[in-house]
C-alpha cells in the first residue's frame, strides 16, 4: 500500500495546495484540521479522489502512525528474510557457551570514537559456586562488518546467496559474538529472535486472514439476509464471545497430539486462534453493512437502477474496505499476543519451532530471569510489534472514518 501510494503523494499535495488561496491552505492541512467545506472547495482533487486515496491523505497526517508503519515494515522484512539478519544457526546448541550476557556494540574505545565493535569474552568458572562467569576481555575486539559472507542460504527461499547483514571481523567458529547473549543451551538469542519473528508474525497474519474470511463471509451473510439467519449467527457470536478465551485455547491446543510435526502444529494453532477470533470481525462487517445500507449514496445508486450486485461491489464494498483493513490491523497484535501466551505456557508451538512465545518459555520463572535477564528481550520485541500495529491500526481507523476530524 505504501509503495503504491507514495508516488501519488506529491501530486496529491500539489492538487490540494495549488488552487488554494495563497499559502494558507497547506498550513490548514498540516495543522490536522478537519476537511472544511472551504478547503474542499479549493481542492477539486478531493472530489474525484477514490476512497482509498482520501484515507491515505488523512492517514499521512498522523505522524506517529506513519512511524509505526515503517517499524512494522522493518519487522516484516526480518520475517521474510531472517537468514539475512541472523549471525548464527538458531538451533545450534553449545552447552559450554550457555548464558553468555549480551555482547553490546560499542563505539568508544580508549576514549576515542571508533567504528562499532564488540569486545571478546572469556568464561571463568567461579571456584565456589561452580557457575560460569563471563567477563569482558578488552584485549580482543571484533569490529562490525556489514554484508559479510557466511552460511549459504536462499534469500526469500529463492535466491541462493551467502551474504548476511552483519558479521564480525576476526571472529571465527565459536567466537562469533552474541549480540543478545545466549540461552540455557548456548543458542544465539539474536539469531533466534530473527527466526522467531518469522513464525510469530506469520502466525498472527495467517490466523487473522482465516478469521477475516470467516468474519466477512458470516458477517456478510448475517447483514445481508437478516431475519432468522442473522439471529442465529448473532447468537453464535455472543456465545463464542462469552467463552473465556485462554482456557478454551489451552484445552484445544492440549488436544493436539504430541507426535505431530512442527508444521502441522503451526497450522493447527492458527486454526485454533481463528476459531474464536472471527467473531469481532464478523460484528464489524455486519454493523458496517447495516449502516451503509441506509446511507444516501447507496439509496441513490439503487434509485438510478443499479443492480444489487453493483450496489454491493461498486458502492458499498469500497467504502468499507478501509474499515476492514483497520479492523484487521488491530486484530493481528491480539493474535500475536495469544500465540505468545499459548507458547509461553507450553501448549502452543513447541521446540524446535522458534517463536517469541517459545523463546520466552526460557524465562518462565524468577530464577532464570534473575540469572539471565536478557532472556526477556523477546518480550520487548513483542511489545514493540504489538504497539506499532495498534497505533497503525488506530491511525487507519481514524483515517477510514469519513466523518472524523
Amino acid at each position: 500500500m505504501d509503495e503504491r501510494a507514495a508516488p501519488d503523494a506529491p501530486r496529491a499535495d500539489q492538487a490540494v495546495k495549488a488552487p488554494g488561496a495563497g499559502a494558507a491552505a497547506p498550513e490548514v492541512e498540516a495543522a490536522d484540521a478537519p476537511e472544511t467545506p472551504a478547503a474542499a472547495a479549493t481542492a477539486p482533487a478531493v472530489y474525484v479522489a477514490p476512497a482509498w486515496k482520501l484515507t491515505w491523505w488523512r492517514f499521512r497526517k498522523h505522524k506517529l502512525a506513519l512511524v509505526c508503519l515503517w517499524v512494522f515494515a522493518l519487522i516484516a522484512l526480518v520475517a521474510v528474510a531472517p537468514e539475512f539478519f541472523a549471525t548464527h544457526d538458531p538451533n545450534a546448541t553449545a552447552a559450554s557457551r550457555a548464558y553468555i550476557p549480551p555482547q553490546t556494540l560499542r563505539v568508544v574505545h580508549e576514549g576515542r570514537l571508533v567504528w562499532p565493535f564488540v569486545y571478546g569474552i572469556e568464561g571463568q568458572r567461579d571456584p565456589r559456586t561452580l557457575r560460569m562467569e563471563w567477563v569482558i576481555d578488552e584485549g580482543t575486539r571484533y569490529p562490525l562488518r556489514l554484508f559479510v559472507k557466511g552460511q549459504p542460504y536462499r534469500l526469500f527461499g529463492l535466491v541462493p546467496t551467502d551474504r548476511h547483514l552483519i558479521g564480525f571481523a576476526g571472529a571465527g567458529g565459536r567466537d562469533v559474538p552474541h549480540l543478545l547473549g545466549t540461552d540455557r543451551l548456548g543458542r544465539d538469542q539474536w539469531s533466534r529472535l530473527m527466526y522467531g519473528t518469522r513464525i510469530s508474525l506469520s502466525i498472527g497474519l495467517v490466523a487473522v486472514a482465516l478469521s477475516t474470511v470467516l468474519g466477512i463471509v458470516l458477517g456478510g451473510i448475517s447483514g445481508y439476509f437478516g431475519g432468522l439467519v442473522d439471529n442465529v449467527i448473532q447468537r453464535l457470536i455472543e456465545l463464542l464471545q462469552a467463552l473465556p478465551p485462554i482456557p478454551i485455547w489451552l484445552a484445544l491446543s492440549a488436544s493436539l497430539p504430541r507426535s505431530w510435526p512442527v508444521e502441522r502444529v503451526y497450522f493447527a494453532i492458527t486454526v485454533i486462534l481463528a476459531l474464536l477470533g472471527w467473531t469481532r470481525l464478523a460484528r464489524e462487517v455486519r454493523g458496517r453493512f447495516l449502516s451503509l445500507r441506509e446511507e444516501d449514496f447507496v439509496t441513490a445508486a439503487r434509485l438510478v437502477g443499479a443492480s444489487r450486485r453493483r450496489v454491493i461491489f461498486a458502492h458499498m464494498v469500497p467504502s468499507f474496505t478501509s474499515h476492514i483493513i483497520a479492523a484487521v490491523t488491530l486484530a493481528v497484535p491480539l493474535m500475536i499476543l495469544n500465540e505468545t501466551f499459548l507458547s509461553f505456557l507450553g501448549l502452543g508451538l513447541r521446540p524446535p519451532a522458534i517463536s517469541w512465545g517459545v523463546m520466552l518459555q526460557e524465562a518462565q520463572n524468577l530464577q532464570s530471569v534473575v540469572n539471565a535477564p536478557w532472556l526477556l528481550i523477546p518480550g520487548l520485541l513483542v511489545i514493540v510489534t504489538v504497539l506499532a500495529l495498534n497505533i497503525l491500526g488506530d491511525g487507519l481507523r481514524d483515517a477510514a472514518d469519513p466523518y472524523s476530524t
Partner: protein, 329 residues
C-alpha cells in the same frame, strides 16, 4: 425491570448448558483418554498394568460407555453437587478446586475493583483536563499496557523486587501460612501478597477503561444540557460529577461482561508465572496430564463465572440506564 431481569435469568441456564457441552467436547477432543496417558506414564517408570486391570479401571471410570452417556453422567453428578474425582490426584475435585476457586475469585474481584477505582477518576481527569499531562500519560500507558503481555509485566516486577528489595514476591502466602487453616493472621498475610498480582492483572484494563470513560465524558460535556447547567452557574466539578459522569460510567459497567472473562483468563497466565495457588495452574496441569474430568470441571467453572459476570453487568446496567429497561420491556 422485573421482566428484563427474568429474561436475563432465563437465558443463563441455556448458556450454561451450551457451555457444558462445549467443555465436555473439549476434554473429549484429545486422542486417547486418561488411561492411555496413565499407562504411558507407568511404562516410563518401568511398571505396567495387566490387561484385565486396565479393563477394570476403564469400567470404573465409565470410559467404556458411549460419549453421550459419559456426558450425562458427568453433568448429572455435577448437578448433584458432586464434582467427581481427579483421575490424577485421586482426590475429589471439589477438594482440589475449593480454596483455589476462592482465591481466584478474590484475585479477580480485587483486580476489578482496582481497575475501576483507578480508571474512573483518571478518566474523569483526562476528559476535563484534555491534553494535559495526565491525559497524555494515560494515552501512552494505554498503548503500552495493551501491548505488554501480563506475564511479562509480572516477571519484570518480580525481578525488580528481587533485585532491588531482595524479596521474592511469588505465591499468595508466606510459607508458614501456605498450608495453615484460615485465621485472621492468614488473611492479613494474604492481603500482603495479593496486591501485586492484583495490580499486574489490572493494569492493561485500567488504561483501557480510563480511555472509555474519557471518550464518553468528552462526548457528554459537549451536550447542550451541560452547557445549560454551566450557564445557570453550576460549579464545574459539581456539574461534571452530577450528570455527565453518570452517563459516561454506564458503558464501563456493561464492559464487565467481557472484562470479567478477560481477567479470569489473564489471571491464569499470571498465576503460572507468580506461582499463585489459584485455579489456573491446576487447569494447566490437568490439561497436560489429560485429567479430563478435573479439566472439564474447571473450564465449566470458568464459563459459569463468565455467565454470572455477564448477568450481573446486564442487571447493573438496567438499574443504571432506564433506556435499556424500556427497550427490553
Amino acid at each position: 425491570m422485573h421482566w428484563y431481569v427474568l429474561k436475563r435469568l432465563a437465558v443463563a441456564p441455556l448458556m450454561l448448558f451450551l457451555f457444558s457441552v462445549i467443555a465436555f467436547a473439549l476434554i473429549q477432543a484429545p486422542p486417547g483418554d486418561f488411561l492411555t496417558s496413565y499407562i504411558a506414564e507407568l511404562a516410563q517408570g518401568g511398571s505396567s498394568l495387566q490387561q484385565s486391570q486396565i479393563e477394570a479401571l476403564r469400567r470404573q471410570y465409565g470410559l467404556d460407555r458411549p460419549i453421550y452417556e459419559q456426558y450425562l453422567r458427568w453433568v448429572g453428578s455435577i448437578l448433584r453437587g458432586d464434582l467427581g474425582i481427579s483421575l490424577e490426584w485421586r482426590r475429589s475435585n471439589a477438594e482440589l478446586i475449593g480454596e483455589r476457586l476462592l482465591l481466584t475469585l478474590a484475585l479477580t474481584t480485587g483486580s476489578l475493583l482496582f481497575t475501576w477505582l483507578v480508571a474512573i477518576p483518571v478518566g474523569i481527569v483526562s476528559a476535563t483536563k484534555q491534553y494535559s499531562f495526565v491525559d497524555y500519560l494515560f494515552t501512552v500507558l494505554n498503548y503500552v499496557g495493551l501491548a505488554t503481555p501480563n506475564f511479562m509485566l509480572a516477571l519484570v516486577l518480580m525481578w525488580v523486587a528481587f533485585d532491588r528489595l531482595g524479596v521474592s514476591v511469588t505465591g499468595l502466602f508466606s510459607p508458614e501460612y501456605a498450608q495453615a487453616p484460615w485465621s485472621w493472621a492468614r488473611f492479613v498475610d494474604l492481603l500482603r501478597h495479593i496486591w501485586l498480582p492484583m495490580i499486574v492483572l489490572g493494569v492493561a484494563g485500567t488504561a483501557q477503561i480510563a480511555r472509555v470513560v474519557r471518550a464518553n465524558l468528552l462526548d457528554e460535556l459537549k451536550k447542550p444540557y451541560a452547557e445549560m447547567a454551566r450557564a445557570k452557574g453550576l460549579p464545574e466539578w459539581k456539574l461534571v460529577l452530577k450528570y455527565p459522569t453518570r452517563v459516561a460510567i454506564a458503558p464501563v459497567v456493561s464492559t464487565l461482561g467481557w472484562y470479567f472473562p478477560q481477567l479470569l483468563s489473564g489471571g491464569l497466565v499470571v498465576s503460572v508465572v507468580m506461582s499463585l495457588p489459584t485455579i489456573g495452574p491446576l487447569l494447566l496441569r490437568a490439561l497436560i496430564s489429560q485429567d479430563m474430568y478435573l479439566a472439564g470441571t474447571i473450564i465449566l467453572i470458568f464459563c459459569a463465572l463468565t455467565v454470572v459476570g455477564t448477568l450481573v453487568s446486564d442487571i447493573l446496567l438496567a438499574v443504571l440506564d432506564p433506556r435499556i429497561r424500556m427497550d427490553a420491556a
